[in-house]
């Protein structure tokens, strides 16, 4: 019990953010019409590419004086993250463009 309370106190800001973000996420997309399910999913998918910030930090402070597997993996993470972000937003935009021109 004490351990749980300690954990909560140490990470209280994070836990608050989680709790509120879950609520915001649910609130924001409830009642979405089914016509938008795919674009919404791929747009959200692109947002989850926010992991790219982690990739930038990782490679940004990597030691370049010697070659290491970690550096290669870090760069790979960056490329993957960018694929997710750029590809995700681009394909969502393409889909929505298609929806748009349909309007009579």
């Amino acid at each position: 019990m004490e351990q749980i309370l300690t954990f909560f106190f140490e990470y209280k800001e994070a836990i608050f953010i989680i709790a509120l973000s879950i609520f915001v996420g649910i609130e924001v997309i409830s009642n979405v019409p089914s016509v938008l399910h795919t674009p919404l999913m791929s747009g959200a998918n692109a947002i989850s590419g926010v992991i790219i910030i982690g990739g930038i930090i990782l490679v940004g402070h990597a030691d370049l004086s010697k070659f290491s597997l970690n550096l290669v993996l870090g760069i790979l993470a960056l490329i993957f993250g960018t694929l997710n972000v750029v590809g995700g937003f681009a394909v969502t935009d393409r889909m929505l463009e298609m929806f748009k021109k349909k309007k009579k």
Binding site: A14, S21, H37, N45, V50, I53
Partner: protein
């Protein structure tokens, strides 16, 4: 930028630090607004651009202003490497997103989801050695990020392979138990790593074992899931990628990552639940996967006779109708019949027939699959009607054309309690005055359940590939 503004918790912070955090706040707000706008048809495109703008901002300020623990920024050489990597990723991502066919959209969404999961997996893997022994909080988020990111990665790859027809469904009853054991072992090892007092440097073997276990679990977890359940799995994997990114956000104590990730996690969860609801099944039931079999053999025996319709009869029937509803399913996507379907509806409309498309929420292989397909074929948005809006009107419909759909129109959902799809909301095609079913043959639908709609006395079958059937039908009507 380097001017020290003050001290918090004994650490100096500069103008740059403050601007960086401010930009994260703006990015997080743009994510929220973007997602909000994305859920309304009129504003969706703008919403997507806002979210993209937020991402660009966060990337730029991180690159320029981020500092490591010693207060040094990102060296110029590293900046170049980062820009090169981002350049490569952007070029590939952009080209693929522009070039890929709309019919391959479920595959593409899965692949991009896999890359996000892979990035989270790698970040967690590389950050683990930097964790401080005994710091349960930071090791916990790293381990969770690794497990969830890895499952999202390997699961999405399998989902891609299945959607692309490279891997079939492999479902053996014992797999449920294997998966359960695998999950318990994976989580158990995760807990062990978190509570172990050993420094991370001595636990590298454990973290790589964990990686391998999670990779296998991701594969095993998606492998048995059938095509009809794909919409649920894709949105679930999407949600997992978001959660994994949020976990990485905790490693860096980065609020934009946390908020963005959790936002996607929650939104994906909602979508997952919506899909489950549309199939009247629980998430657990989908994952454990007991579809097929069951009531399939059910009543069996005498089911009545199948009546076929000739092309000329079908074209007369359609031409002299007032209201026609097309009910598309995955078969439409497989046959790539969306363009010709639009040609048919335009032709009928020119003859004064009112044509609508009735879209079931889980028709196809991903949420909203049919909408994307039909939009690609230029079918006006107003012609697409959701299940709940069309059903009350179904009895006034002269002809319901079922194209490559099966379970979503199976009346067993209403009247056969022994059927696996009993209770699932369906499109009430059986209420229409006439029903034309386009099918390749008498094979059962995905779920392997007998569809009594085929034996309905109002039903006429038009056998053949959906694309060629509709093409012939269009020509027939033109020549009338």
């Amino acid at each position: 930028m380097d001017k020290v503004l003050g001290i918090v918790d004994g650490i100096e912070f500069t103008i740059g630090d403050s601007i960086l955090e401010l930009s994260y706040l703006v990015a997080a707000l743009l994510f929220v607004f973007g997602l909000k706008l994305l859920s309304h048809p009129e504003t969706a495109r703008r919403g997507n651009l806002w979210a993209a703008g937020g991402m660009g901002l966060a990337m730029l300020t991180t690159l320029l202003l981020h500092k490591d623990g010693n207060g040094s920024g990102i060296p110029l050489t590293n900046v170049w490497i980062i820009l090169a990597a981002i350049g490569v990723g952007s070029a590939i991502g952009w080209i693929v997103a522009r070039k890929v066919k709309m019919t391959a959209m479920p595959q593409l969404v899965s692949i991009y989801n896999a890359t996000g999961g892979a990035a989270s997996m790698l970040v967690a893997l590389l950050e683990y050695p930097n964790a401080i022994a005994g710091d349960i909080g930071s090791i916990l988020v790293t381990v969770l990020g690794l497990i969830i990111g890895t499952i999202a990665f390997s699961g999405s790859i399998i989902a891609f392979a299945k959607l692309d027809g490279r891997v079939g469904d492999i479902m053996k009853p014992f797999m449920t138990y294997i998966n359960l054991v695998l999950l318990i072992v994976t989580l158990g090892l995760g807990v062990y790593i978190v509570i172990s007092p050993n420094p991370p440097a001595e636990m590298i073997w454990a973290i790589y074992t964990l990686l391998a276990l999670a990779l296998i679990y991701g594969i095993m977890f998606v492998m048995p899931i059938g095509g009809a359940d794909m919409p649920v799995v894709i949105s679930l994997l999407n949600s997992l990628t978001g959660i994994a990114a949020a976990m990485a956000g905790f490693i860096y104590n980065n609020q934009a990552m946390i908020l963005g990730g959790i936002l996607v996690g929650a939104a994906g969860m909602i979508l997952t639940m919506l899909m489950c609801k549309a199939m009247n099944r629980s998430l657990l039931n989908v994952i454990i996967g007991a579809f097929g079999g069951g009531g399939a053999a059910g009543p069996g025996g005498e089911q009545g006779t199948i009546k076929e319709i000739t092309l000329s009869d079908a074209s007369v029937l359609l031409s002299y109708s007032q209201k026609v509803v097309v009910i598309p399913g995955y078969g439409l996507a497989v046959a790539q019949a969306q363009h010709i379907a639009h040609e048919l509806d335009a032709l009928l409309e020119s003859k004064g027939v009112e044509v609508k498309y009735a879209i079931h929420p889980v028709a196809g292989r991903m949420p909203g699959h049919m909408n994307v397909l039909l939009a690609e074929a230029d079918v006006p948005y107003e012609q697409l009607v959701e299940m709940d809006d069309i059903n009350p009107d179904m009895s006034n419909v002269d002809v319901a054309i079922v194209v490559g759909a099966n379970d979503v129109v199976n009346p067993a959902a209403y009247d056969d309690p022994s059927s696996p799809i009993y209770g699932m909301p369906i499109i009430d095609a059986h209420l229409a005055k006439n029903i034309i079913i386009m099918k390749r043959g008498m094979g059962k639908g995905y779920a392997g359940i007998e569809n009594f709609l085929f034996f309905n006395e109002k039903t006429r079958m038009l056998f053949g590939d959906a694309k060629s059937s509709i093409t012939k039908l269009v020509n027939e009507i033109k020549n009338m």
